[in-house]
Subunit: 312 residues, 2 copies
Protein backbone atom coordinates (compact mmCIF):
# COMPACT_ATOMS: atom_id res chain seq x y z
CA UNK A 1 0.00 0.00 0.00
CA UNK A 2 2.12 2.84 -1.29
CA UNK A 3 0.00 5.60 0.28
CA UNK A 4 1.06 4.27 3.70
CA UNK A 5 4.74 4.17 2.76
CA UNK A 6 4.60 7.63 1.20
CA UNK A 7 2.91 9.07 4.27
CA UNK A 8 5.38 7.52 6.69
CA UNK A 9 8.21 8.83 4.48
CA UNK A 10 6.83 12.35 5.02
CA UNK A 11 5.27 12.92 1.60
CA UNK A 12 2.95 15.95 1.82
CA UNK A 13 0.93 14.88 -1.20
CA UNK A 14 0.18 11.56 0.49
CA UNK A 15 -0.99 13.40 3.62
CA UNK A 16 -3.18 15.74 1.55
CA UNK A 17 -4.68 12.86 -0.41
CA UNK A 18 -5.43 10.94 2.79
CA UNK A 19 -7.22 13.89 4.34
CA UNK A 20 -9.37 14.18 1.20
CA UNK A 21 -10.22 10.49 1.53
CA UNK A 22 -11.07 11.06 5.22
CA UNK A 23 -13.40 13.92 4.29
CA UNK A 24 -15.18 11.67 1.83
CA UNK A 25 -15.48 8.78 4.30
CA UNK A 26 -13.57 6.67 1.77
CA UNK A 27 -12.83 3.08 2.80
CA UNK A 28 -9.21 3.46 1.66
CA UNK A 29 -8.65 6.08 4.39
CA UNK A 30 -9.93 3.58 6.95
CA UNK A 31 -7.45 0.97 5.76
CA UNK A 32 -4.54 3.40 5.77
CA UNK A 33 -5.33 4.66 9.26
CA UNK A 34 -5.52 1.09 10.49
CA UNK A 35 -2.07 0.50 8.96
CA UNK A 36 -0.45 3.65 10.37
CA UNK A 37 -2.08 3.58 13.79
CA UNK A 38 1.03 2.11 15.45
CA UNK A 39 2.97 5.17 14.31
CA UNK A 40 0.67 7.65 16.06
CA UNK A 41 0.82 9.12 19.55
CA UNK A 42 4.04 11.07 19.17
CA UNK A 43 2.74 14.56 18.36
CA UNK A 44 1.62 17.29 20.72
CA UNK A 45 -1.86 18.36 19.68
CA UNK A 46 -3.23 21.86 20.24
CA UNK A 47 -6.79 22.97 19.56
CA UNK A 48 -7.31 26.68 18.90
CA UNK A 49 -10.85 27.94 19.30
CA UNK A 50 -12.43 31.35 19.47
CA UNK A 51 -15.35 33.35 18.10
CA UNK A 52 -15.36 34.40 14.45
CA UNK A 53 -13.03 37.34 13.91
CA UNK A 54 -10.85 36.61 16.93
CA UNK A 55 -7.89 35.98 14.66
CA UNK A 56 -7.40 32.23 15.05
CA UNK A 57 -5.71 31.66 11.69
CA UNK A 58 -3.22 34.47 12.14
CA UNK A 59 -2.36 33.42 15.68
CA UNK A 60 -1.82 29.81 14.56
CA UNK A 61 0.36 31.15 11.76
CA UNK A 62 2.53 32.98 14.29
CA UNK A 63 2.61 30.04 16.69
CA UNK A 64 3.65 27.75 13.85
CA UNK A 65 6.54 30.11 13.05
CA UNK A 66 7.53 30.15 16.74
CA UNK A 67 7.55 26.35 16.96
CA UNK A 68 9.51 26.12 13.70
CA UNK A 69 12.15 28.36 15.27
CA UNK A 70 12.24 25.89 18.18
CA UNK A 71 13.08 23.12 15.73
CA UNK A 72 9.61 21.50 15.59
CA UNK A 73 7.68 20.49 12.50
CA UNK A 74 4.10 21.71 12.43
CA UNK A 75 0.80 20.43 11.09
CA UNK A 76 -2.30 22.64 10.86
CA UNK A 77 -5.84 21.41 10.30
CA UNK A 78 -8.65 23.95 9.99
CA UNK A 79 -11.84 22.13 10.85
CA UNK A 80 -14.89 23.56 9.23
CA UNK A 81 -18.20 21.92 10.00
CA UNK A 82 -19.96 23.85 7.25
CA UNK A 83 -17.29 23.50 4.63
CA UNK A 84 -19.26 24.39 1.50
CA UNK A 85 -20.31 27.73 2.99
CA UNK A 86 -17.16 29.12 4.56
CA UNK A 87 -14.65 27.22 2.45
CA UNK A 88 -13.85 30.39 0.58
CA UNK A 89 -12.96 32.34 3.70
CA UNK A 90 -10.76 29.54 4.92
CA UNK A 91 -9.03 29.39 1.58
CA UNK A 92 -8.41 33.12 1.98
CA UNK A 93 -6.78 32.45 5.34
CA UNK A 94 -4.61 29.81 3.76
CA UNK A 95 -3.51 32.23 1.08
CA UNK A 96 -2.53 34.80 3.69
CA UNK A 97 -0.42 32.11 5.33
CA UNK A 98 1.55 31.90 2.11
CA UNK A 99 5.04 31.88 3.57
CA UNK A 100 4.23 28.88 5.75
CA UNK A 101 3.09 26.70 2.88
CA UNK A 102 6.52 27.15 1.28
CA UNK A 103 8.14 25.68 4.43
CA UNK A 104 8.80 21.94 4.09
CA UNK A 105 8.35 21.58 7.85
CA UNK A 106 4.75 22.84 7.80
CA UNK A 107 1.65 21.04 6.53
CA UNK A 108 -1.55 23.11 6.26
CA UNK A 109 -4.96 21.85 5.33
CA UNK A 110 -8.57 22.92 5.83
CA UNK A 111 -11.03 20.10 6.12
CA UNK A 112 -14.76 19.58 5.74
CA UNK A 113 -16.67 16.45 6.56
CA UNK A 114 -18.85 16.02 3.52
CA UNK A 115 -19.04 12.23 3.33
CA UNK A 116 -18.53 11.29 6.96
CA UNK A 117 -21.29 9.64 8.95
CA UNK A 118 -19.28 10.25 12.13
CA UNK A 119 -19.10 13.97 11.51
CA UNK A 120 -16.45 16.44 12.52
CA UNK A 121 -15.13 14.54 15.50
CA UNK A 122 -14.36 11.31 13.65
CA UNK A 123 -12.82 13.10 10.67
CA UNK A 124 -10.68 15.35 12.88
CA UNK A 125 -9.43 12.42 14.90
CA UNK A 126 -8.42 10.60 11.72
CA UNK A 127 -6.70 13.69 10.33
CA UNK A 128 -4.72 14.13 13.57
CA UNK A 129 -3.58 10.53 13.26
CA UNK A 130 -2.49 11.11 9.67
CA UNK A 131 -0.40 14.18 10.55
CA UNK A 132 0.98 12.40 13.61
CA UNK A 133 2.17 9.42 11.52
CA UNK A 134 3.32 11.84 8.81
CA UNK A 135 5.73 13.29 11.36
CA UNK A 136 4.35 16.64 12.55
CA UNK A 137 5.75 17.35 16.02
CA UNK A 138 3.04 19.88 16.90
CA UNK A 139 -0.44 19.68 15.38
CA UNK A 140 -2.79 22.65 15.56
CA UNK A 141 -6.50 22.15 15.04
CA UNK A 142 -8.40 25.34 14.31
CA UNK A 143 -12.11 25.09 15.07
CA UNK A 144 -14.91 27.49 14.28
CA UNK A 145 -15.56 28.45 17.90
CA UNK A 146 -19.26 27.80 17.73
CA UNK A 147 -19.91 25.25 20.42
CA UNK A 148 -20.20 21.50 20.38
CA UNK A 149 -17.52 20.94 17.75
CA UNK A 150 -14.99 22.82 19.85
CA UNK A 151 -15.73 20.74 22.92
CA UNK A 152 -15.40 17.56 20.86
CA UNK A 153 -12.09 18.69 19.40
CA UNK A 154 -10.84 19.62 22.88
CA UNK A 155 -11.40 16.00 23.90
CA UNK A 156 -9.19 14.87 21.02
CA UNK A 157 -6.26 17.19 21.76
CA UNK A 158 -3.76 17.77 24.55
CA UNK A 159 -4.14 21.51 24.90
CA UNK A 160 -7.09 23.77 24.22
CA UNK A 161 -6.21 27.41 23.49
CA UNK A 162 -9.22 29.72 23.59
CA UNK A 163 -8.97 33.09 21.87
CA UNK A 164 -10.90 36.18 22.81
CA UNK A 165 -10.56 39.76 21.68
CA UNK A 166 -11.27 43.16 23.19
CA UNK A 167 -14.48 44.93 22.31
CA UNK A 168 -16.53 41.77 22.35
CA UNK A 169 -17.59 41.85 25.97
CA UNK A 170 -20.97 40.26 25.49
CA UNK A 171 -19.38 37.51 23.47
CA UNK A 172 -17.34 36.47 26.48
CA UNK A 173 -20.51 35.46 28.27
CA UNK A 174 -22.05 33.81 25.24
CA UNK A 175 -18.86 32.00 24.46
CA UNK A 176 -18.43 30.90 28.05
CA UNK A 177 -20.77 27.93 28.05
CA UNK A 178 -18.99 24.70 27.33
CA UNK A 179 -15.75 26.01 25.90
CA UNK A 180 -14.51 27.73 29.04
CA UNK A 181 -14.65 24.45 30.91
CA UNK A 182 -12.27 22.80 28.46
CA UNK A 183 -9.83 25.70 27.99
CA UNK A 184 -6.22 25.16 29.10
CA UNK A 185 -4.97 28.55 28.00
CA UNK A 186 -6.65 31.86 27.21
CA UNK A 187 -5.24 34.37 24.76
CA UNK A 188 -6.71 37.83 24.45
CA UNK A 189 -5.72 38.46 20.86
CA UNK A 190 -5.65 41.80 19.08
CA UNK A 191 -4.18 43.23 22.28
CA UNK A 192 -2.99 46.23 20.26
CA UNK A 193 -6.59 47.41 20.49
CA UNK A 194 -7.87 49.11 23.62
CA UNK A 195 -9.72 47.10 26.23
CA UNK A 196 -7.61 43.95 26.10
CA UNK A 197 -6.50 44.27 29.73
CA UNK A 198 -10.11 44.53 30.89
CA UNK A 199 -11.04 41.33 29.05
CA UNK A 200 -7.98 39.62 30.55
CA UNK A 201 -8.95 40.79 34.05
CA UNK A 202 -12.47 39.37 33.59
CA UNK A 203 -10.97 36.08 32.48
CA UNK A 204 -8.56 35.95 35.41
CA UNK A 205 -11.51 36.12 37.80
CA UNK A 206 -13.29 33.31 35.97
CA UNK A 207 -10.34 30.93 35.76
CA UNK A 208 -9.54 31.51 39.41
CA UNK A 209 -12.71 29.65 40.34
CA UNK A 210 -12.19 25.96 40.92
CA UNK A 211 -9.60 23.94 39.07
CA UNK A 212 -8.95 20.43 40.27
CA UNK A 213 -6.30 19.34 37.83
CA UNK A 214 -3.52 21.43 39.35
CA UNK A 215 -3.40 23.62 36.23
CA UNK A 216 -4.89 27.09 36.34
CA UNK A 217 -5.35 28.28 32.74
CA UNK A 218 -3.03 31.25 32.14
CA UNK A 219 -4.48 34.36 30.53
CA UNK A 220 -2.13 35.95 28.01
CA UNK A 221 -2.24 39.07 25.88
CA UNK A 222 -1.05 38.79 22.28
CA UNK A 223 -1.32 40.30 18.84
CA UNK A 224 -1.10 37.89 15.97
CA UNK A 225 -1.09 40.75 13.51
CA UNK A 226 1.89 42.50 15.15
CA UNK A 227 3.57 39.22 16.14
CA UNK A 228 3.49 40.34 19.76
CA UNK A 229 3.37 38.04 22.79
CA UNK A 230 3.56 34.91 20.63
CA UNK A 231 6.65 33.41 22.30
CA UNK A 232 4.83 33.54 25.66
CA UNK A 233 1.86 31.68 24.19
CA UNK A 234 4.18 29.04 22.74
CA UNK A 235 5.92 28.78 26.15
CA UNK A 236 2.60 28.14 27.88
CA UNK A 237 1.55 25.58 25.28
CA UNK A 238 4.78 23.72 26.02
CA UNK A 239 4.32 24.20 29.77
CA UNK A 240 0.84 22.69 29.61
CA UNK A 241 2.13 19.64 27.78
CA UNK A 242 4.89 19.26 30.39
CA UNK A 243 2.29 19.55 33.14
CA UNK A 244 0.19 16.82 31.50
CA UNK A 245 3.23 14.56 31.26
CA UNK A 246 4.14 15.07 34.92
CA UNK A 247 0.63 14.85 36.36
CA UNK A 248 -0.52 11.72 34.56
CA UNK A 249 -2.91 13.86 32.54
CA UNK A 250 -1.32 12.65 29.32
CA UNK A 251 -2.37 9.07 30.03
CA UNK A 252 -5.88 10.16 30.97
CA UNK A 253 -6.20 12.26 27.81
CA UNK A 254 -4.98 9.37 25.67
CA UNK A 255 -7.54 7.01 27.19
CA UNK A 256 -10.34 9.55 26.67
CA UNK A 257 -9.32 10.03 23.06
CA UNK A 258 -9.15 6.28 22.39
CA UNK A 259 -12.59 5.82 23.97
CA UNK A 260 -13.99 8.50 21.69
CA UNK A 261 -12.30 7.04 18.65
CA UNK A 262 -13.75 3.58 19.34
CA UNK A 263 -17.23 4.97 20.01
CA UNK A 264 -16.98 7.08 16.87
CA UNK A 265 -15.96 4.09 14.75
CA UNK A 266 -18.72 2.06 16.38
CA UNK A 267 -21.34 4.69 15.57
CA UNK A 268 -20.12 4.94 11.98
CA UNK A 269 -20.20 1.16 11.46
CA UNK A 270 -23.66 0.90 12.95
CA UNK A 271 -24.99 3.77 10.83
CA UNK A 272 -23.47 2.28 7.70
CA UNK A 273 -25.11 -1.04 8.46
CA UNK A 274 -28.44 0.62 9.09
CA UNK A 275 -28.25 2.33 5.69
CA UNK A 276 -27.26 -0.94 4.04
CA UNK A 277 -30.10 -2.79 5.78
CA UNK A 278 -32.65 -0.29 4.56
CA UNK A 279 -31.78 -0.78 0.91
CA UNK A 280 -31.69 -4.58 1.07
CA UNK A 281 -34.43 -7.00 0.03
CA UNK A 282 -34.69 -8.30 3.61
CA UNK A 283 -36.06 -4.90 4.59
CA UNK A 284 -38.93 -4.92 2.08
CA UNK A 285 -39.65 -8.56 2.97
CA UNK A 286 -40.06 -7.56 6.60
CA UNK A 287 -42.25 -4.59 5.61
CA UNK A 288 -44.51 -7.02 3.77
CA UNK A 289 -44.69 -9.31 6.79
CA UNK A 290 -45.65 -6.42 9.06
CA UNK A 291 -48.26 -5.22 6.56
CA UNK A 292 -49.74 -8.74 6.67
CA UNK A 293 -49.64 -8.56 10.52
CA UNK A 294 -47.28 -11.54 10.56
CA UNK A 295 -44.92 -9.50 12.71
CA UNK A 296 -44.84 -6.25 14.65
CA UNK A 297 -42.40 -3.52 13.56
CA UNK A 298 -40.18 -4.33 16.52
CA UNK A 299 -40.08 -8.01 15.61
CA UNK A 300 -39.10 -6.94 12.10
CA UNK A 301 -36.30 -4.81 13.54
CA UNK A 302 -35.08 -7.76 15.62
CA UNK A 303 -35.21 -9.98 12.55
CA UNK A 304 -33.21 -7.47 10.55
CA UNK A 305 -30.63 -7.12 13.30
CA UNK A 306 -30.10 -10.88 13.22
CA UNK A 307 -29.11 -10.62 9.58
CA UNK A 308 -26.27 -8.25 10.54
CA UNK A 309 -23.05 -10.17 10.15
CA UNK A 310 -20.01 -9.02 12.10
CA UNK A 311 -18.23 -7.93 8.93
CA UNK A 312 -21.15 -5.73 7.71
CA UNK B 1 -50.79 -10.09 30.41
CA UNK B 2 -53.74 -8.24 31.89
CA UNK B 3 -52.73 -4.82 30.52
CA UNK B 4 -53.28 -6.21 27.01
CA UNK B 5 -56.71 -7.63 27.91
CA UNK B 6 -57.74 -4.45 29.71
CA UNK B 7 -56.70 -2.30 26.75
CA UNK B 8 -58.51 -4.46 24.19
CA UNK B 9 -61.59 -4.35 26.47
CA UNK B 10 -61.51 -0.54 26.18
CA UNK B 11 -60.20 0.30 29.65
CA UNK B 12 -59.08 3.95 29.65
CA UNK B 13 -56.79 3.45 32.61
CA UNK B 14 -54.95 0.71 30.72
CA UNK B 15 -54.53 3.05 27.73
CA UNK B 16 -53.27 5.85 29.97
CA UNK B 17 -50.82 3.56 31.75
CA UNK B 18 -49.50 2.23 28.45
CA UNK B 19 -48.85 5.71 27.11
CA UNK B 20 -46.91 6.51 30.29
CA UNK B 21 -44.83 3.38 29.72
CA UNK B 22 -44.27 4.45 26.10
CA UNK B 23 -43.05 7.87 27.24
CA UNK B 24 -40.58 6.21 29.56
CA UNK B 25 -39.33 3.79 26.91
CA UNK B 26 -40.35 0.97 29.25
CA UNK B 27 -39.84 -2.58 28.00
CA UNK B 28 -43.35 -3.54 29.11
CA UNK B 29 -44.81 -1.11 26.55
CA UNK B 30 -42.77 -2.82 23.85
CA UNK B 31 -44.19 -6.20 24.84
CA UNK B 32 -47.76 -4.95 24.96
CA UNK B 33 -47.50 -3.25 21.56
CA UNK B 34 -46.12 -6.45 20.10
CA UNK B 35 -49.11 -8.30 21.54
CA UNK B 36 -51.75 -5.81 20.35
CA UNK B 37 -50.23 -5.08 16.95
CA UNK B 38 -52.64 -7.43 15.15
CA UNK B 39 -55.53 -5.30 16.48
CA UNK B 40 -54.25 -2.07 14.93
CA UNK B 41 -54.94 -0.52 11.54
CA UNK B 42 -58.65 0.19 12.01
CA UNK B 43 -58.63 3.84 13.06
CA UNK B 44 -58.54 6.93 10.91
CA UNK B 45 -55.64 9.07 12.05
CA UNK B 46 -55.56 12.86 11.74
CA UNK B 47 -52.59 15.08 12.53
CA UNK B 48 -53.36 18.69 13.45
CA UNK B 49 -50.49 21.13 13.18
CA UNK B 50 -50.18 24.88 13.26
CA UNK B 51 -48.14 27.67 14.81
CA UNK B 52 -48.45 28.38 18.53
CA UNK B 53 -51.64 30.30 19.22
CA UNK B 54 -53.47 29.08 16.14
CA UNK B 55 -56.01 27.30 18.33
CA UNK B 56 -55.15 23.66 17.68
CA UNK B 57 -56.52 22.31 20.96
CA UNK B 58 -59.83 24.12 20.66
CA UNK B 59 -60.31 23.06 17.05
CA UNK B 60 -59.56 19.43 17.92
CA UNK B 61 -62.05 19.73 20.78
CA UNK B 62 -64.75 20.86 18.34
CA UNK B 63 -63.83 18.24 15.76
CA UNK B 64 -63.98 15.55 18.44
CA UNK B 65 -67.49 16.70 19.36
CA UNK B 66 -68.47 16.64 15.67
CA UNK B 67 -67.19 13.09 15.20
CA UNK B 68 -68.90 11.98 18.40
CA UNK B 69 -72.17 13.29 16.98
CA UNK B 70 -71.45 11.14 13.91
CA UNK B 71 -71.24 8.09 16.15
CA UNK B 72 -67.44 7.77 16.21
CA UNK B 73 -65.24 7.28 19.25
CA UNK B 74 -62.29 9.64 19.45
CA UNK B 75 -58.71 9.50 20.73
CA UNK B 76 -56.59 12.63 21.14
CA UNK B 77 -52.82 12.68 21.65
CA UNK B 78 -51.08 16.00 22.17
CA UNK B 79 -47.46 15.47 21.23
CA UNK B 80 -45.11 17.77 22.99
CA UNK B 81 -41.43 17.44 22.20
CA UNK B 82 -40.47 19.67 25.13
CA UNK B 83 -42.89 18.23 27.62
CA UNK B 84 -41.35 19.53 30.88
CA UNK B 85 -41.55 23.12 29.64
CA UNK B 86 -45.00 23.43 28.13
CA UNK B 87 -46.68 20.67 30.10
CA UNK B 88 -48.51 23.28 32.13
CA UNK B 89 -50.09 24.94 29.13
CA UNK B 90 -51.15 21.60 27.74
CA UNK B 91 -52.69 20.70 31.04
CA UNK B 92 -54.58 23.98 30.86
CA UNK B 93 -55.86 23.00 27.43
CA UNK B 94 -56.97 19.67 28.84
CA UNK B 95 -58.87 21.41 31.61
CA UNK B 96 -60.68 23.63 29.11
CA UNK B 97 -61.68 20.44 27.30
CA UNK B 98 -63.44 19.34 30.46
CA UNK B 99 -66.68 18.16 28.94
CA UNK B 100 -64.84 15.83 26.58
CA UNK B 101 -62.98 14.00 29.31
CA UNK B 102 -66.32 13.12 30.90
CA UNK B 103 -67.37 11.42 27.64
CA UNK B 104 -66.68 7.66 27.72
CA UNK B 105 -66.16 7.74 23.95
CA UNK B 106 -63.23 10.15 24.13
CA UNK B 107 -59.69 9.47 25.31
CA UNK B 108 -57.39 12.50 25.75
CA UNK B 109 -53.76 12.44 26.63
CA UNK B 110 -50.75 14.74 26.24
CA UNK B 111 -47.46 12.97 25.79
CA UNK B 112 -43.77 13.77 26.17
CA UNK B 113 -40.90 11.54 25.18
CA UNK B 114 -38.68 11.67 28.22
CA UNK B 115 -37.19 8.17 28.16
CA UNK B 116 -37.38 7.36 24.46
CA UNK B 117 -34.24 6.91 22.41
CA UNK B 118 -36.36 7.01 19.26
CA UNK B 119 -37.83 10.40 20.10
CA UNK B 120 -41.19 11.85 19.24
CA UNK B 121 -41.80 9.83 16.12
CA UNK B 122 -41.37 6.39 17.73
CA UNK B 123 -43.41 7.34 20.80
CA UNK B 124 -46.22 8.85 18.73
CA UNK B 125 -46.40 5.81 16.50
CA UNK B 126 -46.68 3.54 19.54
CA UNK B 127 -49.34 5.75 21.12
CA UNK B 128 -51.40 5.69 17.89
CA UNK B 129 -51.20 1.90 17.93
CA UNK B 130 -52.39 1.84 21.54
CA UNK B 131 -55.45 4.03 20.86
CA UNK B 132 -56.16 2.10 17.67
CA UNK B 133 -56.22 -1.23 19.54
CA UNK B 134 -58.10 0.44 22.39
CA UNK B 135 -60.89 1.14 19.91
CA UNK B 136 -60.78 4.83 18.98
CA UNK B 137 -62.37 5.24 15.55
CA UNK B 138 -60.71 8.60 14.87
CA UNK B 139 -57.36 9.52 16.41
CA UNK B 140 -56.19 13.14 16.45
CA UNK B 141 -52.52 13.92 16.98
CA UNK B 142 -51.83 17.50 17.95
CA UNK B 143 -48.27 18.61 17.22
CA UNK B 144 -46.47 21.77 18.21
CA UNK B 145 -46.23 23.15 14.69
CA UNK B 146 -42.53 23.81 14.85
CA UNK B 147 -41.09 21.83 11.99
CA UNK B 148 -39.51 18.41 11.77
CA UNK B 149 -41.81 16.79 14.32
CA UNK B 150 -44.86 17.81 12.32
CA UNK B 151 -43.47 16.32 9.14
CA UNK B 152 -42.66 13.09 10.96
CA UNK B 153 -46.13 12.90 12.46
CA UNK B 154 -47.67 13.58 9.04
CA UNK B 155 -45.91 10.45 7.78
CA UNK B 156 -47.56 8.45 10.56
CA UNK B 157 -51.12 9.64 9.94
CA UNK B 158 -53.70 9.50 7.17
CA UNK B 159 -54.64 13.16 7.08
CA UNK B 160 -52.65 16.25 7.94
CA UNK B 161 -54.71 19.29 8.90
CA UNK B 162 -52.69 22.51 8.99
CA UNK B 163 -54.07 25.47 10.93
CA UNK B 164 -53.34 29.10 10.23
CA UNK B 165 -54.90 32.24 11.59
CA UNK B 166 -55.42 35.77 10.33
CA UNK B 167 -52.99 38.46 11.38
CA UNK B 168 -49.99 36.23 11.16
CA UNK B 169 -49.05 36.92 7.56
CA UNK B 170 -45.31 36.58 7.99
CA UNK B 171 -45.81 33.31 9.80
CA UNK B 172 -47.40 31.84 6.70
CA UNK B 173 -44.10 32.11 4.89
CA UNK B 174 -42.04 30.87 7.81
CA UNK B 175 -44.43 28.05 8.43
CA UNK B 176 -44.52 27.12 4.79
CA UNK B 177 -41.30 25.15 4.57
CA UNK B 178 -41.83 21.48 5.06
CA UNK B 179 -45.31 21.46 6.55
CA UNK B 180 -47.10 22.87 3.50
CA UNK B 181 -45.86 19.98 1.42
CA UNK B 182 -47.49 17.43 3.72
CA UNK B 183 -50.78 19.26 4.34
CA UNK B 184 -54.00 17.58 3.16
CA UNK B 185 -56.34 20.24 4.47
CA UNK B 186 -55.90 23.87 5.51
CA UNK B 187 -58.04 25.55 8.11
CA UNK B 188 -57.87 29.29 8.67
CA UNK B 189 -58.94 29.28 12.28
CA UNK B 190 -60.17 32.27 14.28
CA UNK B 191 -62.07 33.30 11.17
CA UNK B 192 -64.21 35.56 13.38
CA UNK B 193 -61.24 37.94 13.28
CA UNK B 194 -60.66 40.16 10.28
CA UNK B 195 -58.26 39.09 7.57
CA UNK B 196 -59.17 35.41 7.44
CA UNK B 197 -60.38 35.59 3.85
CA UNK B 198 -57.09 37.15 2.74
CA UNK B 199 -55.08 34.35 4.37
CA UNK B 200 -57.39 31.81 2.73
CA UNK B 201 -56.92 33.48 -0.67
CA UNK B 202 -53.13 33.32 -0.28
CA UNK B 203 -53.38 29.67 0.59
CA UNK B 204 -55.64 28.91 -2.39
CA UNK B 205 -52.95 30.26 -4.70
CA UNK B 206 -50.29 28.11 -3.06
CA UNK B 207 -52.22 24.85 -3.02
CA UNK B 208 -53.20 25.37 -6.64
CA UNK B 209 -49.62 24.79 -7.66
CA UNK B 210 -48.84 21.18 -8.51
CA UNK B 211 -50.54 18.29 -6.81
CA UNK B 212 -49.96 14.85 -8.26
CA UNK B 213 -52.02 12.73 -5.91
CA UNK B 214 -55.37 13.83 -7.31
CA UNK B 215 -56.20 15.64 -4.08
CA UNK B 216 -56.02 19.41 -3.94
CA UNK B 217 -55.95 20.45 -0.26
CA UNK B 218 -59.15 22.38 0.50
CA UNK B 219 -58.84 25.68 2.35
CA UNK B 220 -61.57 26.19 4.95
CA UNK B 221 -62.51 29.00 7.28
CA UNK B 222 -63.47 28.08 10.83
CA UNK B 223 -63.70 29.34 14.36
CA UNK B 224 -63.02 26.81 17.06
CA UNK B 225 -64.01 29.32 19.71
CA UNK B 226 -67.44 30.03 18.15
CA UNK B 227 -67.88 26.46 16.92
CA UNK B 228 -68.24 27.78 13.42
CA UNK B 229 -67.38 25.88 10.21
CA UNK B 230 -66.44 22.74 12.15
CA UNK B 231 -68.84 20.39 10.36
CA UNK B 232 -67.23 21.36 7.03
CA UNK B 233 -63.78 20.55 8.42
CA UNK B 234 -65.04 17.18 9.66
CA UNK B 235 -66.60 16.57 6.23
CA UNK B 236 -63.30 17.23 4.47
CA UNK B 237 -61.38 15.02 6.93
CA UNK B 238 -63.78 12.22 6.01
CA UNK B 239 -63.57 13.09 2.32
CA UNK B 240 -59.78 12.88 2.41
CA UNK B 241 -59.91 9.45 4.02
CA UNK B 242 -62.40 8.29 1.37
CA UNK B 243 -60.10 9.67 -1.33
CA UNK B 244 -57.17 7.71 0.14
CA UNK B 245 -59.24 4.53 0.21
CA UNK B 246 -60.31 4.94 -3.42
CA UNK B 247 -56.97 6.04 -4.85
CA UNK B 248 -54.79 3.38 -3.25
CA UNK B 249 -53.24 6.07 -1.07
CA UNK B 250 -54.28 4.19 2.04
CA UNK B 251 -52.06 1.25 1.11
CA UNK B 252 -49.15 3.54 0.28
CA UNK B 253 -49.54 5.40 3.59
CA UNK B 254 -49.66 2.13 5.50
CA UNK B 255 -46.46 0.91 3.86
CA UNK B 256 -44.70 4.22 4.57
CA UNK B 257 -45.76 4.08 8.19
CA UNK B 258 -44.62 0.47 8.62
CA UNK B 259 -41.26 1.32 7.05
CA UNK B 260 -40.85 4.16 9.52
CA UNK B 261 -41.88 2.01 12.43
CA UNK B 262 -39.34 -0.68 11.52
CA UNK B 263 -36.57 1.86 10.99
CA UNK B 264 -37.49 3.54 14.28
CA UNK B 265 -37.39 0.25 16.16
CA UNK B 266 -34.11 -0.58 14.46
CA UNK B 267 -32.55 2.72 15.46
CA UNK B 268 -33.74 2.29 19.05
CA UNK B 269 -32.36 -1.25 19.31
CA UNK B 270 -29.04 -0.20 17.85
CA UNK B 271 -28.75 2.79 20.17
CA UNK B 272 -29.63 0.68 23.19
CA UNK B 273 -26.94 -1.83 22.23
CA UNK B 274 -24.40 0.91 21.76
CA UNK B 275 -25.13 2.22 25.26
CA UNK B 276 -24.90 -1.29 26.68
CA UNK B 277 -21.62 -1.95 24.85
CA UNK B 278 -20.07 1.18 26.27
CA UNK B 279 -20.68 0.18 29.85
CA UNK B 280 -19.46 -3.39 29.45
CA UNK B 281 -16.04 -4.81 30.34
CA UNK B 282 -15.39 -5.68 26.69
CA UNK B 283 -15.27 -1.96 25.95
CA UNK B 284 -12.57 -1.16 28.48
CA UNK B 285 -10.64 -4.26 27.37
CA UNK B 286 -10.64 -2.94 23.81
CA UNK B 287 -9.60 0.53 25.03
CA UNK B 288 -6.60 -1.10 26.74
CA UNK B 289 -5.69 -2.97 23.57
CA UNK B 290 -5.81 0.22 21.52
CA UNK B 291 -3.74 2.07 24.12
CA UNK B 292 -1.14 -0.71 23.77
CA UNK B 293 -1.34 -0.31 19.95
CA UNK B 294 -2.54 -3.92 19.69
CA UNK B 295 -5.49 -2.68 17.65
CA UNK B 296 -6.70 0.47 15.93
CA UNK B 297 -9.92 2.13 17.16
CA UNK B 298 -11.76 0.78 14.14
CA UNK B 299 -10.56 -2.75 14.80
CA UNK B 300 -11.82 -2.32 18.36
CA UNK B 301 -15.20 -1.19 17.03
CA UNK B 302 -15.35 -4.24 14.75
CA UNK B 303 -14.44 -6.49 17.66
CA UNK B 304 -17.14 -4.94 19.82
CA UNK B 305 -19.71 -5.32 17.05
CA UNK B 306 -18.92 -9.02 16.88
CA UNK B 307 -19.92 -9.36 20.52
CA UNK B 308 -23.42 -8.05 19.67
CA UNK B 309 -25.79 -10.94 19.88
CA UNK B 310 -29.05 -10.82 17.96
CA UNK B 311 -31.07 -10.56 21.17
CA UNK B 312 -29.33 -7.32 22.29
Amino acid sequence: MSLVEDLLAGDKRAAAKLISLIEDGDEEATEVIRAIYKETGKAQTVAVSGPPGSGKSTLIHRLAQAFRRRGKTVGIIAVDPTSPLTGGALLGDRVRMGDLTADEGVFIRSMGTRGRLGGVSAATSDAINVLDAFGSDVIFVETAGVGQTDVEVAALTHTMVVLLMPGAGDDVQAFKAGIFEVADLFVVNKADRGGAEAVAADLEVMVGMGEETGWVPPVLLASGLRDDGIAEVADQVEAHFAHLAESGGLEAKRRTRVEREILGALAESIQARGLALRSGTAFSDWVDRVLQKDASPREAAQGLLETLGPEG
